[in-house]
């Protein structure tokens, strides 16, 4: 009896699976057809794994320099990408630098998406006074240009990885709250949410299954578009001496340290910036690809 029931269920279900493609499956298929997005995703995957595997991939110790080997040009034997102003191997430093640059670029966006998403959903679902209060609070943070806010916070708190991540998280929370709130408000007023409410769904169920399930896609796309800005800002803070502290390898910091070398070897001096540019460009293109593939109806 039990067998028979499972069987009928299986036969009944099979055609459904064939006919109805889930949303995420069709997004996946569209993404795979988009050659640019697949390409940049691969490049990013390589960059991330190269940074993670830096201890095994790097040909030299990123901290070990020698004055005799200062500012060797790109293509020097033994130093594929040359050496920096204290004779440290550039390739090794760029590989290791990716760890801190990616960490300082990605973490603030992830943290801000969690915090800002939470506040935004609360503001959107609650509406009324709670919404007004939370959104006006965000308006105040919006009144500061992002670089200014990040520099001011880091400037007062002092340089370092933690303060970089903290200040950038503060910078990214307001835009995420705004987007989440606007998405939540849009979803909240849709018919199916009303239907779920009429069917007796509790507040929590509504938030979990109707609101969050529907805003996650556009919110994710928006968050990926912030990663590029975050990576640039994080390396910018290090460039100013407010982020990662020397002698650690970080792209922004390396760029600043090599600034004087521009008169000796401009290519070498520009190299760390190429790493920042490629990463930020890849994240921007990835975000564009995701936006097209997800084809979200909700306007972020």
């Amino acid at each position: 009896m039990e067998m028979a029931e499972t069987n009928t269920q299986a036969t009944r279900r099979e055609p459904d699976v064939e006919l109805v493609k889930t949303y995420w499956r069709s997004v996946g298929e569209r993404l795979l057809r988009d050659r640019v997005t697949v390409g940049v995703a691969l490049i990013l995957a390589v960059m991330v794994s190269a940074s993670l595997l830096a201890p095994w991939l790097a040909p030299h110790d990123p901290m070990a320099g020698s004055v005799a080997n200062r500012l060797k040009p790109v293509g020097t034997t033994g130093h594929l990408l040359g050496t920096d102003e204290t004779g440290r191997d550039m390739l090794s430093r760029i590989l290791y630098g990716g760890r801190l640059s990616l960490l300082c670029g990605l973490t603030p966006v992830i943290l801000a998406t969690l915090i800002g998403g939470f506040i935004g959903v609360i503001a959107g679902v609650a509406g009324g006074v709670v919404n007004a209060l939370l959104m006006r609070l965000m308006d105040v943070l919006y009144a500061f240009p992002s670089v200014l806010l990040a520099v001011a916070i880091c400037g007062v708190l002092g340089a370092g990885i933690t303060n970089t991540i903290l200040s950038l998280t503060i910078v990214f929370v307001p835009p995420i709250v705004r987007i989440t709130e606007s998405l939540t408000t849009q979803v909240r007023n849709l018919d199916f949410v009303e239907a779920a409410r009429a069917a007796g769904a509790s507040h929590l169920e509504l938030i979990r299954f109707q609101v969050i399930a529907n805003i996650l896609g556009p919110l994710f796309v928006y968050a990926t578009s912030l990663v590029s800005i975050s990576i640039i800002l994080a390396s910018g803070l290090s460039f100013l001496g407010l982020g990662v502290v020397p002698p650690a390898a970080e792209w922004g910091l390396m760029l600043n340290a090599l600034r004087q070398a521009i008169w000796v070897d401009p290519v070498l001096a520009a190299l760390p910036g190429v790493a920042i540019l490629v990463t930020s460009m890849c994240f921007n293109l990835l975000s564009d690809g995701l936006r097209t593939a997800m084809d979200t109806r909700l306007k972020a």
Binding site: P145, S228, L240, W263
Partner: protein
């Protein structure tokens, strides 16, 4: 319209209040006695006493805040703990220098951004579109402090055409061709981001507008291409304007990186200097004035937008 402006002004008041609170809080964000961070280790005793009185650190926080706000509203932005001079003088000449590069960069970014956006939008899928779409992605992705270095490498180190850093004369707005030559590279470095961002926005707006019925109707009516373009521009302008307002604010507040590369004595460099000298009054005043400007620019943009597009006056 007047009602709209009134409402918008009213909306700005709590924001400005919040901004002043946050800027005031900057000094107190550091654990420990704020005087320790306000003063260099070798500060003379009379300066310590004067600052203690000036900031009233022994008083409750709200009293400190109110008296600080009172001084700011009266036009006293505080005294530098490093130079012992009033902050306002240094700040406004630095701000003037920042404006001298930010304003041309904004104008360049706005006009080129719109032009590129319209051209690529009208030739969607063509080679122009593809080339400039890649360029605009470059524009929004490039770290402008790196671009600044690359421009120096090309035009100063390589070609020897333009000065690598600094500014001619005693600063401010250019009066001679030599002054202008110092402006060229910083302005280009700053303008690339707005060009990228605005052209992307305008392109998608143009695509959206040309897809709408009225554009087809205008074409069917036999209107010349140039006239249709005018209608399209009218629709694409308000969002571009709003974005430019934001971008101009970012240029003012974000020029710190480009100013560092070019050793440009602007507000950003003043702030950078203040941070390394632990000169909190200068940092506080710079942040306050820059964010104040940012809020005012946004207010102005909202009003301009409402003037162009009556639908905004809700």
């Amino acid at each position: 319209m007047l009602k709209f402006i009134g409402m918008r002004l009213l909306h700005t008041v709590p924001i400005l209040f919040g901004v002043s609170l946050l800027v005031f809080a900057l000094v107190h964000m550091v654990p420990g006695n704020p005087l320790d961070i306000l003063l260099p280790a070798d500060a003379p005793k009379e300066v310590i006493e004067r600052l203690k009185a000036e900031y009233g650190f022994d008083q409750p926080l709200y009293v400190q805040y109110l008296s600080w706000l009172g001084r700011v509203l009266a036009g006293d932005l505080g005294t530098s703990v490093f130079t012992g001079q009033k902050v306002a003088g240094d700040l406004f000449s630095a701000l003037n220098n920042t404006l001298a590069i930010a304003l041309p960069a904004a104008v360049l970014g706005f006009t080129l951004g719109i032009a590129l956006g319209v051209v690529t939008g009208l030739h969607q899928g063509g080679w122009i579109d593809r080339v400039f779409s890649v360029l605009s992605i470059f524009g929004v992705s490039v770290p402008h402090f790196w671009l600044a270095i690359v421009l120096v490498a090309i035009f100063s180190v390589g070609l020897g055409m333009l000065p690598a850093a600094g500014m001619a004369g005693d600063g401010g707005w250019p009066t001679s061709l030599e002054d202008v030559s110092y402006l060229v590279l910083p302005v280009i470095s700053l303008s690339l981001i707005p060009i990228g961002i605005i052209s992307r926005l305008v392109r998608s707006t143009v695509l959206e507008v040309t897809g709408q019925e009225f554009a087809g109707a205008l074409k069917a009516k036999g209107l010349r291409r140039r006239r249709i373009l005018l209608h399209i521009l009218k629709n694409a302008a308000p969002p571009a304007l709003a974005l430019m307002g934001l971008q101009f604010g970012y240029l003012l507040g974000g020029s710190i990186l480009v100013e560092t590369v070019y050793n440009w004595p602007g507000a950003g460099q003043l702030m950078n200097l203040a941070i390394f000298r632990r000169d909190i009054p200068v940092l506080q005043a710079t942040v306050l004035i820059l964010s104040l400007l940012f809020v005012l620019i946004n207010l102005l943009v909202d009003v301009l937008q409402a003037l162009i597009d009556p639908r905004m006056r809700r």
